[in-house]
Amino acid sequence: MRRLAWLAAAVVFYSIAAWSVAPGFYDGFGPPQPYNFTCPPPQAGANTKPSSAHLDIKIINGVSDANSAFTDDGQIVIGFLPGAFDVTGKTGISVDITPLDTCPKPPGIEFVTNVYRVTADAPLVKESGLTVRYSNLLPDPAAVYQASDPSGPWTSLGRSDQAQPYTVNTRITKLGYFAAGYPSTSPAPDAIKVGGGQTLPIVVAVLIVVVVLAGLPLAIVRRRRGSATAEDEEED
């Protein structure tokens, strides 16, 4: 009984601890840190506001220096090569990344990340690399989308194959608004998934039913065997 009591206490302790964080903490399949949503989905749990970024790029010998702009939470990173900006009349380039306060829902696209506004006080003249991190709570994005205005139109920039888990990479030729997502007219990419999503309550319900249905006969058989053994011992 003492062992059962310890187990029951551990179940309660675990339930409270697991309830206090977003689901998906088991073996590191999730991103290295929870995604900071502008509009968190219900399953996100406690949410922190996404952060902004500011970068001053030096101009060396008439060429803008190589540098990277990234938000403190690492949810968006832009890598600029040397000479990425037109520096005519400039002594430095100022780059700002700001998460949009709203969550646009353009027709035909389902965004799975925040929308970020990326601005600079000089035009981009060389292709730059953009990396967007996404959450494991939502489907994988098929592409990074870009617009010059949050109301659209949004253009797909695609995504490169090589990226760290839960990030998408692409190349950009101009600044503006960026978000990762997938066409909502088609199923979410990588749609073949195991577990998660809306199937989780069903999985848990099936497990409980199996435990109850198989557990009762097993318990009865064990009890009968126990009493039979006790009777045999008495006869002896």
Binding site: V11, F13, W19, D27, Q164, L200
Partner: protein, 187 residues
């Protein structure tokens, strides 16, 4: 010489096993950060963890065949307990890409065999059940420190404690393996 000391002294054996398991888990977490390494890191990490059980009999690891049906059922119950908070929360949870299912199974089995199997047995020899339960839970939490955000470590600790208490209360590793596999596949 070192091997001789480690094999004869239970505490030294427990510490050596703990160090090995931590090294494997941390190496896996670091390697997984590089692009394209998630699947091989999980498979190889799981295999490297299973090696920790080398030299232990199945009974000492909690893998005997006695009451197998009950223990399998216990694994389903553990799986339900591990998933319940996420299921109740909103009915939605993270999605595990199908390609990672095999990797999830491999790492779940590897972790259970290493932590609640070999490490538990070694620490049990060294200091009894309290050291085995406490030691495996602390090392399990430390092992996940590099792969999980700090705010998740409380839940990781609680899951480790639950699985270790099961191992102690039921003298069983089959349940934790099944529960862990189900939880990793479903989340």
């Amino acid at each position: 010489m070192v091997l001789s000391v480690v094999s004869k002294r239970p505490l030294a054996r427990g510490l050596a096993l703990g160090g090995y398991v931590l090294a494997v888990e941390w190496a896996r977490a670091v390697v997984m950060r590089a692009p394209g390494t998630l699947f091989p890191a999980l498979i190889l990490g799981g295999a490297a963890l299973v090696i920790a059980a080398w030299g232990w009999s199945p009974e000492r690891l909690g893998l005997g065949r006695k009451r197998l049906a009950l223990r399998v059922l216990g694994g389903f119950a553990l799986g339900a307990v591990l998933l319940l908070p996420a299921a109740v929360r909103s009915g939605a949870a993270p999605l595990l890409p199908a390609g990672l299912a095999l990797a999830a199974v491999a790492i779940s089995i590897g972790e259970e065999v290493a932590f609640r199997g070999a490490l538990y047995a070694a620490l049990d020899d060294a200091g009894g059940a309290p050291l085995a339960i406490g030691g495996t839970t602390v090392l399990w939490t430390l092992a996940h420190a590099l792969s999980h955000p700090p705010e998740f470590l409380g839940a990781v600790f609680a899951a480790g404690l639950l699985l270790a208490l099961w191992r102690w209360a039921c003298q069983d590793l089959v349940g934790p393996i099944i529960g862990h596999v189900i939880a990793d596949l479903a989340l």
